[in-house]
Amino acid sequence: MRRLLALSVALLALALAVAGCGGGDDDSGGTATGGTPSGTVRVIMEEVPDTDIVKSLLPEFQKEFPDVDVQVEALPYDQMRDRIVSSFLASDPTYDMIVVDNPWMYDFAKGDFLLPLDDRITAAQDFDHEDFAQPLRDIAEVDGATYGVPFYNYALGLIYRKDLYAQAGLTPPTTLAELKAAAAKLNTGGRAGIAMQPQKGYKIFEEWGNYLFGAGGAIQDADNAVVLDSPEARTALQEYIDIYKASAPKNSLNWAFDESLRAVAGDKAAQMISYNWMLPTLNKADGPAGKLAGKFALAEVPGGKSILGSWSWAIPKNSASPDAAWAFIAWVTSKQHEKERVIAGGAPVRASAMSDPEVWEQGFGEDYYTTVASILEDAAPLADGPNAEEMINVVGEDLNAAVAGQESVDDAISSAASGAQETLDK
């Protein structure tokens, strides 16, 4: 009796699940329909300042599109992906519009979860898609189709203390050797030469990738094949380890972004490789750096090519109101509102905004925006292809093991390279 009951409950549930999972495939989005869009757009976003800025623009959007109701649900990062994927799997979606982190883009697109936006982009007036930085557009393009519109970037740059550099007679390093020297020189008793983020997984790869590029290496070639197993990668990792051992805070093997920021803001480290938009935050008078505000500057990472991260707007295939969602995306990413967003402190994605004197003046100054523009010019993401998230973790594990001294540099690189290739081929 009891067993039978359990079984029938399970079977019933299974049947329901199968019925529930199948939906959403027949909606082949593409062309924008005419007329004024209307409907509710539920969007999931990350709990970050850039989201708050978008929220602050909403009343303006509402005025222009009174029939579209945009409802923002802001969540912590770790919670977002699970919920997005869950929403994909449902026939009645939770979200009509989403923001996609670059490692997810390929899998989401290949998983047939996203609406291709090419036709809508072409049809949109004065949209000027070319205005978005090329690497950002590339991320949103999977197998020739465009699935996202850039929202904001999180490319990395070198954030350093101008005053300390001046005192020591240093200029921002352009090579790894110079970075090493600068870090060593700035390393004094109470203050580390550089704060690093060697935490296993995403964090170390995100940081070390800049070293790799700086050493002239690459992660993937034009055909997306992994080319990590190179002398350049070995050099980059050796340099990374040397700098960590010589100039990073003691015992900081598990450090991530948070600790580095705290160290730099708290005058316990002279510089860090971090997200470019941390600069305005650090320089804000009432920001985390307190009295140190204004003493920070942003430079390109040594070598000039940095790791790129980006968030893109996208519309799930099972969105209940794709037209209204697109109306919002087109509106918020238009040149004009990009400008407003950037002035309000958002991380830029359009060349036009970054070269706009009005933005410089009301934002964080010309230097900052031109530096960001040049960072974005040739920045590249950690992974391009399937299973990006896992590939990043695989590489990040070997890198971290090498820094911890559990693996030799040589072994770590070859293991990372083969692991990465295997993951991409899965």
Partner: protein, 266 residues
């Protein structure tokens, strides 16, 4: 152990427990700038973290956690107590029943959460506290049942037999005579189940974030992509601990007595 040694040991234990809490209290009054050095003692106290926490939905989340905990525990107590009685007294379900309870305690949430999600989706319970309650039942129910089996094992069979001879049926005897014997244990199991539910992050995070945020979710949301908001998180931790601590001051005696009522058998 001699008396001074015991006292010393207890003092060390109290300090070991108190120290992190003292630190948490300290940093809950620190500003963002002061938090760059979380351990320094010289800082200008600010109430910003507290007002952020108290106005930022943490209290609502705490209330929701209480609701989830109470509901989970109530269902667990009813189903778990009856089931435990059946397993203890009638060997109902035999080995598989006891085995299933162990199994349930062991299952990693990461594996159960996706099927659960699909289930709640189909039942239209997504993003409600009901989903969280149901998910919490997957681990609270086995623990409560496990506890209660032990308590029932300790109740002499003659008591209910006497009650049945005295004029009650099975259920009457259970309700009027057996149940009162395990009440203290029931309390202990309830509190323990409540703590498990109160602490769960994983299920609550995935099954009911935004609209049905529980306290751990609220606390963890201070661990952002852009760093940990230590100050606000600390205030939130204190919000979550203080009420339970006060409660535990009043119930710990009962808790100890409840568990020692004979429920700890294998």
């Amino acid at each position: 152990m001699s008396r001074p040694l015991r006292a010393l040991f207890l003092v060390i234990a109290v300090v070991a427990v108190a120290f992190p809490f003292a630190w948490v209290v300290l940093i809950s009054f620190k500003s963002r700038v002061d938090l760059n050095d979380p351990s320094s003692l010289s800082f200008t106290p600010t109430s910003a973290n507290w007002s952020e926490v108290l106005h930022g939905g943490v209290l609502e989340a705490a209330l929701r956690s209480v609701e989830v905990g109470l509901a989970t525990v109530s269902v667990s107590l009813v189903a778990g107590t009856l089931g435990a009685y059946a397993i203890s007294r009638f060997k109902a379900g035999g080995g598989p029943a006891r085995f299933g309870i162990l199994l349930a305690q062991l299952m990693p949430p990461a594996v159960l959460v996706v099927p659960l999600f699909i289930l709640f989706f189909n039942w239209n319970l997504r993003d409600t506290i009901w989903a969280v309650i149901a998910a919490h039942l997957t681990f609270v129910l086995p623990v409560v049942t496990w506890f209660m089996i032990g308590f029932f094992d300790a109740v002499p069979r003659e008591l209910e037999e006497q009650a049945m001879i005295d004029g009650y049926g099975r259920f009457g005897a259970f309700r009027r005579v057996v149940l009162p014997q395990v009440l203290p244990g029931l309390g202990a199991a309830a509190i323990f189940g409540f703590v498990l539910s109160w602490n769960d992050l994983f299920y609550a995070l995935i099954l009911a974030g935004g609209n049905a945020e529980t306290l751990p979710v609220a606390i963890s949301s201070y661990n952002t992509f852009r760093g940990v908001e230590l100050g606000a998180m600390s205030a939130a931790i204190l919000v979550s601990v203080v009420p339970v601590l006060i409660a535990s001051f009043f119930v710990q005696k009962r808790l100890v007595r409840g568990i020692s009522g004979g429920g700890l058998k294998y």
